[in-house]
């Protein structure tokens, strides 16, 4: 059987009966949650993990076919909760992970109590009337930029980093500068993230949810927040003063305050 805990570098911390699982977004690892972890670990059981290809996950477990759609990533979330035997959890997902949470909650509603989306988007690419914020050309330019930034690393350094047990700082430095461990996986994840269209999933979601929408985010414009509010049953939209795509890093206090209000936590 797959060792899910090792595969996704799962860490369970904190004191409390209610569990919160935190799913990082594309381009990051579980480290992005540290501001929330510091606040919630005294009252909740926190489940942190890295998606395969990110952070300290097991790269050997990467399977292009499984992870060719968000369903594969949703399966990972469910397998983690299954392995830990946790149900009725609060789910906090950033960016693409919001939709991963939606897919997981549709498949296994009993695992989830409430979903909290940080800068979500069901579809990043504009499609006729629908405003996703990006067009195909934006995506190609982003992939090109990713390529050029992985130039000094990818092909010859990556295998060394993986095998370089006597020089772990080499790996750490690269992970620090890229937040991911494998550029090829990062590129595939980028494609899956930005080309996925999960708008129909929103309509099938039964679990109640909160959207934390930044007031200026190139990757998820305001229209996307309103779209989710309209399409998902029992979705609450909270527009933050924070700008950018990572309010949990840029304005953690505002994010924590909004989450506290939603889950009635004082």
């Amino acid at each position: 059987m797959t060792d899910v805990i090792k595969r996704n570098n799962v860490r369970v911390i904190g004191e409390g009966d209610q569990a919160i699982i935190l799913a990082h977004g594309f381009g990051c690892s579980q480290n992005v949650w540290r501001n929330l972890v510091a606040v919630y670990k005294t009252k909740f059981k926190l489940i942190l993990f890295d998606f395969v290809g990110a952070g300290q996950s097991d790269l050997e477990a990467y399977d292009s076919k499984r992870y060719s759609s968000l369903d594969g990533y949703a399966k990972d979330v469910l397998e983690i909760l299954e392995a830990l035997n946790i149900k009725n959890t609060l789910f906090i997902g950033h960016s693409v992970s919001s939709m991963i949470g939606v897919k997981a909650a549709i498949a296994q509603p009993s695992y989830f109590k409430k979903l909290i989306f940080v800068s979500p988007s069901p579809c990043y690419i504009n499609d006729e009337e629908y405003i996703g914020g990006l067009d195909k050309e934006d995506l190609n330019n982003l992939l090109e930029l990713m390529d050029s930034n992985y130039l000094g690393w990818s092909s010859f350094l990556a295998p060394q980093v993986m095998g370089n047990l006597d020089r772990p700082e080499l790996g750490e430095e690269l992970v620090a500068n890229f937040c991911a461990t494998d550029p090829d996986i990062a590129k595939e994840f980028a494609r899956v993230t930005f080309l996925s269209d999960n708008r129909t999933d929103l309509e099938n979601l039964q679990t109640e949810s909160l959207t934390l929408q930044c007031s200026k985010d190139i990757l998820a414009p305001l229209a996307v927040g309103y779209y989710i509010e309209k399409k998902a049953k029992n979705n609450t939209l909270k527009i933050l003063e924070a700008t950018g795509h990572c309010p949990h890093l840029g304005a953690p206090e505002e994010v924590i305050e909004a989450i506290n209000a939603y889950i009635n936590f004082v």
Binding site: F26, G27, C28, N31, V32, R34, L134, D138, N141, L142, E144, L145, M146, D147, S148, N149, L151, G152, S155, A176, N177, F178, C179, D217, I218, L219, A242, T243, G244, H245, C246, L249, G250, A251
Partner: protein, 224 residues
């Protein structure tokens, strides 16, 4: 005028003689862009070199965000990768971004360090912008070559796979027949017959050929 001075002296000299080493001039005419901005907010300082590259005046840029000078892909990359890293590790190095100008855009390497602001609030970022137009061309060339090399490698490995397949099926099949027929022939011919000796030699050669083919197939499979 002293030529060699210590670092400390340099600052002392600065206080007494304005025209000795002009830090303001160094800041403004440095051959790279220098800027300071709030991590979640506006640009605070920007040097003349960068203003010249951007083709704007200081008043037009101060109070704009750093992401306002990037192209769209750059903003996405910054939001997805650079800002999280600055937040988590306080430093990013050699990030390739594209900066918008009235004439189009130029490629740059961005380095930044996060410094804590004294009176509360978020971090401020001290950053350098190196124009990398020529190097970028070279890098693009390298990337192109790498992509081409990867494609060629795939083609070659596909060809090798085909060779391995042909060897193991098309060539070894008739050879297996030959190897099977030799003992039949040996049984049909009397033991002392000279033909039998020839048959033994034929069998040895056929076995050698069989081993050779196996080793070729193995090598081809190893290299695909």
């Amino acid at each position: 005028m002293p030529i060699l001075i210590s670092y400390n002296n340099l600052f002392m000299e600065k206080e007494t003689s304005d025209d000795f080493i002009d830090f303001k001039s160094l800041y403004n005419t440095a051959p790279c862009g220098l800027l300071i901005f709030e991590i979640n907010g506006p640009i605070i300082y920007i040097n003349q070199t960068l203003l010249k590259w951007l083709g704007v005046g200081e008043k037009e840029i101060v109070n704009k965000n750093f992401t306002d000078i990037l192209d769209r892909a750059g903003v996405m990359y910054y939001e997805l990768f650079v800002q999280p890293i600055l937040k988590m590790h306080q430093e990013v190095k050699e990030i390739n971004l594209n900066i918008k100008t009235p004439e189009g855009a130029f490629s740059c390497l961005f380095n930044g360090v996060a410094v804590n602001k004294q009176a509360g609030g978020g971090e401020i970022i001290n950053a350098t912008i190196f124009k990398v137009e020529d190097r970028k061309k070279y890098e693009n060339e390298l990337l192109l070559k790498r992509t081409k090399a990867e494609e060629e490698k795939q083609l070659k490995s596909k060809a090798l796979q085909e060779v391995a397949f042909d060897q193991s099926h098309l060539v070894r099949a008739p050879l297996a027949n030959i190897l099977g027929l030799i003992p039949v022939l040996q049984q049909m011919i009397h033991k002392d017959n000279e033909v039998n000796q020839v048959l033994t030699m034929l069998q040895q050669s056929a076995s050698k050929l069989d081993n050779q083919i196996r080793s070729i197939v193995n090598k081809a499979n190893l290299n695909t």
